[in-house]
């Protein structure tokens, strides 16, 4: 059963990823990205990371892709990239060689190092009758709000900086002829 789920989710992930890089239209690329993100969410569920799967769907598929689509609409949807012509002739073969080499190195490292993986943590609680249905969320919350609470607070500062910076970047000044920066 888990094998079937893995194969289906892997096909979703890889089809969506290939769709992102081969579709000419940016809207189609964004919708392919949604497919990949849902596939990753399914893989999260099959690996007992239930809260992260929910966050993946809400934040990535719900917020980030909508932001992408919003910016595509803002900048004009009819700008289709021409994938046939390549200004730098050597770039595409070099990129293929680089990525195949990257896959080879990573897979070799994974297969070579798969023997040294052994349990060292204190365990992930699975939702059952003893732990309750929200065991994963509770355990993740205990980890975030006790051990990593400083990082969590710094994260809030990061989000505030991101929001203020984006407002400053995209703001239109009143004399918006030419130089917008000041």
């Amino acid at each position: 059963m888990e094998f079937f789920v893995f194969v289906c989710a892997a096909i979703m992930v890889l089809l969506g990823a290939v769709g992102v890089i081969v579709r000419k239209h940016p809207v189609h690329a964004a919708l392919s990205l949604v497919l990949t993100l849902f596939g990753v969410a399914v893989l999260f569920v099959s690996q007992e990371a239930h809260f992260l799967a929910a966050v993946q769907v809400i934040v990535y598929a719900g917020a980030i892709v909508v932001l992408f689509l919003f910016v595509i609409m803002l900048l004009g949807v009819d700008r289709v990239e021409n994938l046939r012509t390549e200004p730098l002739t050597a770039q595409r073969p070099l990129a293929i060689i680089t990525c195949l080499g990257l896959v080879g190195v990573l897979v070799a490292a994974i297969v070579n190092g798969s023997g040294v993986l052994n349990e060292r943590g204190e365990g992930i609680k699975l939702p059952d009758l003893q732990n309750g249905p929200d065991a994963n969320t509770v355990q993740l919350a205990e980890s975030i709000f006790s051990k990593y609470v400083v990082a969590f607070e710094v994260t809030s500062v990061l989000l505030v900086i991101a929001v203020v910076g984006t407002v400053l970047l995209t703001r239109k000044t009143k004399s918006s002829t030419g130089s917008q920066t000041k």
């Binding site: 940016p26 932001l67 900048l75 680089t98 297969v111 798969s114 349990e119 943590g121 994963n136 920066t181």
Partner: protein, 106 residues
């Protein structure tokens, strides 16, 4: 490694994440549209998240899932700032490729 009963082990998830990361790298290298390049960066971030979750289950450690949470927050902030930069650059331009950004003049 690959057992005969066909239960996907952590190795399978890690290999899938490696392939996804490489596809994202390829997209960043060959695509010219900065929005699509951002989407490929999201693909790479998701591959790393998948690696973290797979290793969290393999090592039986919740800290792997905690760091995925933080990666998601930082990715959201990164997308917001990056798209803001793209909008502020592209507002006065007609073309939408990374080649047109060769000069730094705003």
């Amino acid at each position: 490694m690959i057992s005969l009963t066909l239960v996907p082990t952590a190795t399978w998830y890690l290999v899938l994440a490696a392939v996804l990361f490489s596809i994202g790298t390829f997209g960043v290298l060959v695509r010219r549209n900065p929005l699509v390049m951002f989407m490929c960066i999201e693909l790479m971030l998701n591959a790393v998240n998948l690696t973290f979750v797979a290793l969290a289950r393999e090592l039986n450690d919740i800290n792997g899932q905690t760091i995925v949470f933080f990666v998601m927050v930082v990715a959201a902030a990164e997308v917001v700032v990056g798209l803001g930069i793209i909008v502020s650059i592209m507002r006065n331009r007609s073309a939408l490729t990374a080649d047109d950004l060769a000069e730094l003049k705003g």
